[in-house]
Amino acid sequence: MPAVVDLDRWVAAYGLMATIRAFEEGVNQLYITAKMPGLAHLYTGQEATAVGVCMALGPQDYITSTHRGHGHCLAKGASPDRMFAELLGKAAGYCKGKGGSMHIADPDTGNLGANAIVGGSAGIATGAALSAKRLGTDRVSVCFFGEGALGQGVLYEVMNLASLWALPVIYVCENNLYSEYTLYTETAAGSLRARPEAFGIPAWEVDGQDVRAVYAASVEAVGRTRRGEGPAALFCNTYRYYGHHVGDINRAYYRSKDEEQRWRAERDPLAILRRWLVEDAGVDPSVLDELESHAQAKVAAGMEFGLAAPYPEPEEVGRDVYA
């Protein structure tokens, strides 16, 4: 009975978004308590995008991710324990600790990797779509990127190619308004969605804080693409709650506390979904509370695992340079 199926789906989506939220809180704690090497770029506030898009994908579908990639990684099916291990540089990490936050990859769940080069994964995602087409699988490939990547020419090179060859790739732009410390209007001229459209790629623009809207658009885009009708583009309007990275504490010079507050108060993706589940779908709030505490518990356990896990052996430094 679809209605129920649907309900389960949205309840599960809530749990997944809560897990991402809890995971990033954990990462921030690790940073603040100086337990994590280096920096990390938190996904908090953008949960609905990763979850809404990945809900429309199958486990065999591919994604490529960014420096702000923990949400994509979890949404595609990775588990917090090995992710924490990776962020902490431990041997049990998804990449043996060699990649870290900016390079987490998990081929088993179709995640071809985060990328520390802005726009750097556009070619990889498009190439994965070429493989899908040549090998005759029905896989689709999703390229997640921030609006800052719209400055990189390679994005347009591969959009042109994907359109020419009708490749099953979907370009998902998460417009969280800022690239580092600069508002997107200062770095992007003209119209964002006109760019893929200029290459003959249809584009959808959605409220990135409403997971149901993101999912609906993704289903359309994925369906079209999987049917062999060529690439699609999706623009999700969203916001990052924290700084560009965990160390970006004083942000007043590029955005106001008030702006941050308004997004948290009025546009929070979990609150928006919760309201709909409770008020429109009649879900008992306690169900959602339970999902949240479950998410927190899972994340806490994952962090424990990561902290307790051993570092790689020194010999590992010379391994995996060549296959």
Binding site: G123, I124, R134, S141, A323
Partner: protein, 346 residues
Amino acid sequence: MSTLRTAAPPDTEKAIREITFAQAVREALAEEMRRDPRVIILGEDVAEAGTPFKVLSGLVEEFGTDRVIDTPISEAGFTGIAVGAAMTGLRPIADIMFGDFLTLAMDQIVNQAAKVHYMSGGRLSVPMVVRATLGATRRSAAQHSQSLHAWFGHVPGLKVVLPSTPYDAKGLLKTAIRDDNPVLFFEDKLMFQTRGPVPEEEYTIPFGVADLKREGMDVTLVATSSMVQVALDAALLLEQDGISAEVIDPRTTVPLDAGTIVESAKKTGRAIVVDEGHERYGVTAEIASVIAEGAFYHLDVPVRRLGAMDVPVPFSPVLEDLTVPTPERVAAEARALCGAPRQREG
């Protein structure tokens, strides 16, 4: 040394047919594409045109436009697509028409292809080949004449191949296509029409095995790609002066067969490294320092380096010809090392 013997064309009674360097490359591609349906070619004008050098002529007719794929002028784009395709089940060959255009794909090659395997802890790999060209004196000026292979030797995760004969080109390219890592394969534009013996039978040539192109006693000439023939011609000139030159072709600069190179230098006590890349911070520096360290107690004279002159490649023929090592210059350097009198001018 057996390593060296593996490199020479197999001894056989019936005469070995001669084909051009371009034909050897094409045969390697065709054989590997027949053997493995995952092998595809991406590049500008690679299909009907068979590239401006006609190296790929005929491949699209056999394998179709699904596997020999024309791209727009988007070096970064199609190289990046090759990286992603390699990570997901294909074995792409990206065709970079002129090596100078590698500058446009450096992020894809260096930050992505070279590092994916390591960054993923070995869980992903990038079995791709980047075919590119090198070499000057074609009157193509500064942006179509560079030999940039040294850069890639500096990047862990990449392998670098520099064939100098049709035989080596075929055997090394087949090995490159079967390798599970990103391999930069450089072809000398001026060599495409050079003919040489290439057996009909299937063979491959392992990476990291230098080839003894000529045996000698008095001086070691380590030469790569386009400079191997220059070194062999120099050896003939030196022979007339009673100087016996040994010519060693590393064939791959990564991995580098340091052992064979150093052994030869120990034997002769004199070494010159010749490479068409610019001399400064180039391949000659690496190999010369490997020799200087490894053969330190056997060298009679300092190792000499001969690379391309450190100037952008000029268009004017009278200038361009001054920038690349010639047999005469190599021979002159060798005579100087051997203390033999320089030939009288003219």
